[in-house]
């Protein structure tokens, strides 16, 4: 396990370096004049010249990149010139809201996706399966922001339930609709994933043995088949949590949810490049981190998994 973990971490560091090369290229090589970009739209010529000197843009590219990497290692993502605070601080300020939304989204994904997936696999081509697969198709084909507006329009505006913008107290009142919107899109995916995994497991010998010795049908499904499908769920959960923590723009924006995605989106208006690039990097780290956690959880939860 340990050698595997070390190898895995080394690869991750390599990937992080790759990511930093891409963000560096985007921030410093792609724009015609990075200094102007970093100085902000209202900067004077003197400020731009000053920033060009500060950024050391007159030095060789390799030196510039080394410098960039050095600052990253020290968790220096630059300063947001919109908010006048360090980028890392700006991101950390928004993390609680993003984490709440992520937790709520995962809750609804599992609440809706798991039962539908299990019931669909219990009777393939039965009524639940057919309704479930329609739900899956529609769920996967609906843009999250359209779903958000649909929920706001029907649940909040027509029925007068819950809140539809921003966050506040009590939290569940504000969190319910954005979390439901996030969870509904994911639930469709979970249902499909779990159905396939369950159908696979239900073909195994030990299931037939359980059936033969007279275990009730529901118990075969819940007690014998489902636990062996959890690794599929965990993989997807890990990926989702990584992506959710990197900011769910298409839910955060329609609901004005103050997460890191919405902050990065607002930064576009003022071309706050350090803040946007910082959020991209942060998101990539969240995703890579979640992947490692998932791989370790595999081995912890499923005794069949061994890393050598």
């Amino acid at each position: 396990m340990l050698p595997y973990l070390i190898r895995r971490l080394l690869w991750t560091i390599l990937e992080l370096i790759g990511i930093s090369i891409i963000t560096f290229a985007l921030a410093y090589l792609v724009p015609a004049d990075p200094a102007r970009l970093y100085a902000g739209p209202h900067a004077t010529l003197a400020t731009i010249a000053n920033i060009r000197h500060q950024l050391g843009l007159d030095r060789p590219v390799v030196v510039q990149y080394g410098d960039y990497l050095w600052r990253l290692v020290h968790l220096d993502l630059g300063t947001s010139y919109e908010l006048h605070i360090p980028v890392l601080q700006a991101i950390l300020n928004r993390i609680p809201a993003t984490a709440e939304l992520a937790a709520g989204g995962v809750f609804f994904e599992l609440l809706l996706g798991v039962p539908i997936g299990i019931l669909a696999a219990a009777r393939p081509r039965g009524i639940v399966d057919r309704v479930g697969s329609t739900f899956t198709l529609v769920g996967l084909s609906t843009p999250p922001f359209v779903l958000s507006y649909l929920l706001i329009f029907v649940v909040w505006y027509k029925w007068g339930l819950f809140e539809s913008g921003g966050t506040g107290s009590p939290l569940p009142l504000y969190l319910f609709l954005p979390a439901l919107a996030l969870g509904l899109s994911g639930a469709a995916f979970y249902a499909r994933l779990l159905r396939t995994a369950m159908l696979d497991v239900l073909r195994s010998d030990y299931i037939r043995v359980a059936r033969a010795k007279g275990v009730p049908r529901w118990k075969v499904l819940i007690r014998h088949a489902f636990p062996n499908c959890t690794n599929v769920l965990i993989t997807q959960l890990g990926l989702d949590i990584g992506f959710f923590l990197s900011g769910v723009l298409l839910i955060e924006v329609p609901f004005s949810w103050p997460g890191i995605g919405q902050q990065a989106w607002q930064a576009i208006t003022n071309l706050d490049v350090p803040l946007i690039m910082g959020t991209v990097l942060f998101g990539a780290v969240a995703i890579l981190g979640a992947n490692i956690v998932v791989d370790v959880l595999y081995a912890v939860i499923d005794p069949r998994v061994r890393y050598d």
Binding site: E15, G18, P124, P143, Y149, F153, R203, V280, G283
Partner: protein, 306 residues
């Protein structure tokens, strides 16, 4: 020995195959399977209709999408609800919503087809190189794919738009940047298996070059995979483009696009919901039909289906 038969209760019912169709070619069986699949046919018909709608938008749309009808709003400047004159109503500028939805299909399909087409070709090249040559080529390409997969896609698009000028080309570039990895991973896996097959061995034995084996003998086997994943990929791309345009980082402002319409009219959600939900339905319909088409192709092209 035959494979053990699964107990009745967990076995998927086997579709009745009318007669043994030995003597029929692969393609005629594919056609037969495809046209028997109602979902696939419905998907294909809607996709065809959408493409025709985009091509003939100029003739189909009752108004110019940018035309601001002076009588297109109420006295107070509010959008008009759906009426015989404006089937889907108007927006706050007096523009005809139906015309904008019809013209919006152009952007969605253009971006979906071109972006996904290029991404698929790039994925095909990278994936087959990695799968065929293995070794360090595979390691390098797989790691690059790993890096790209770690980027949060919408944030990445924000970053790209922040440093580039927004245009349809930029959007297509973002799509290629984000989606080539999906095809590459699938193709890599396929080529990995294909290169072990006897016909590859035979081609090598008669002295064919590696490149010729890859292009002439392996690529044809990838056709069905590519067709399926391109169709499913277009569905994803249309969703993605709508999301970008909704966020205001997609096609330039003024070009009619479904995501842009929703973004423009979000304030009118409670007073003029048709302005949000008609482009919303257009997006869903497009994505659903490309998904149905892709799923249908997958079932029909699978040579082991019968």
């Amino acid at each position: 020995m035959d494979a053990p038969v699964a107990p009745r209760w967990d076995r998927e019912p086997v579709e009745e195959v009318a007669v043994s169709r030995s003597g029929q070619g692969y393609w005629s069986r594919v056609r037969h399977r495809f046209f028997r699949d109602k979902g696939a046919v419905v998907g294909a018909v809607i996709v065809l209709a959408l493409i025709l709608m985009a091509i003939f938008a100029q003739r189909l749309a009752p108004y110019d999408p940018g035309f601001e009808d002076p009588n297109g709003t109420t006295m107070l400047g509010a959008p008009l609800p759906p009426s015989p004159g404006h089937w889907l109503g108007t927006d706050a500028n007096g523009r005809d919503a139906l015309s904008r939805v019809i013209f919006g299909s152009q952007v969605s399909l253009e971006v979906g087809l071109i972006g996904n087409g290029v991404a698929s070709i790039l994925g095909l090249i990278m994936g087959s190189l990695a799968g065929y040559f293995r070794g360090w080529v595979d390691t390098v390409i797989s790691r690059i794919i790993g890096i790209f997969l770690a980027f949060p896609v919408y944030l990445m698009a924000l970053a790209l738009v922040a440093v580039l000028t927004p245009s349809i080309t930029t959007v297509i570039g973002i799509i290629i940047f984000v989606y080539w990895t999906a095809t590459a991973r699938i193709i890599r896996g396929q080529v990995f298996a294909l290169r072990e097959r006897d016909f590859v061995e035979a081609a090598r034995a008669v002295g064919q070059s590696e490149l010729a084996i890859l292009v002439r003998h392996i690529f044809p086997h990838l056709f069905s995979t590519l067709a399926v994943y391109t169709s499913l990929g277009i569905a994803t791309t249309v969703l993605f483009e709508a999301g970008l345009s909704y966020l205001g980082v997609g096609v330039p402002h003024g070009t009619p696009s479904w995501g842009g319409m929703i973004s423009d009219n979000q304030e009118a959600l409670t007073t003029a919901p048709w302005l949000i939900f008609s482009p919303g339905v257009a997006i869903m319909l497009t994505v659903i039909s490309f998904n149905l088409l892709g799923d249908g192709l997958r079932e029909a092209l699978d040579p082991y289906k019968e």
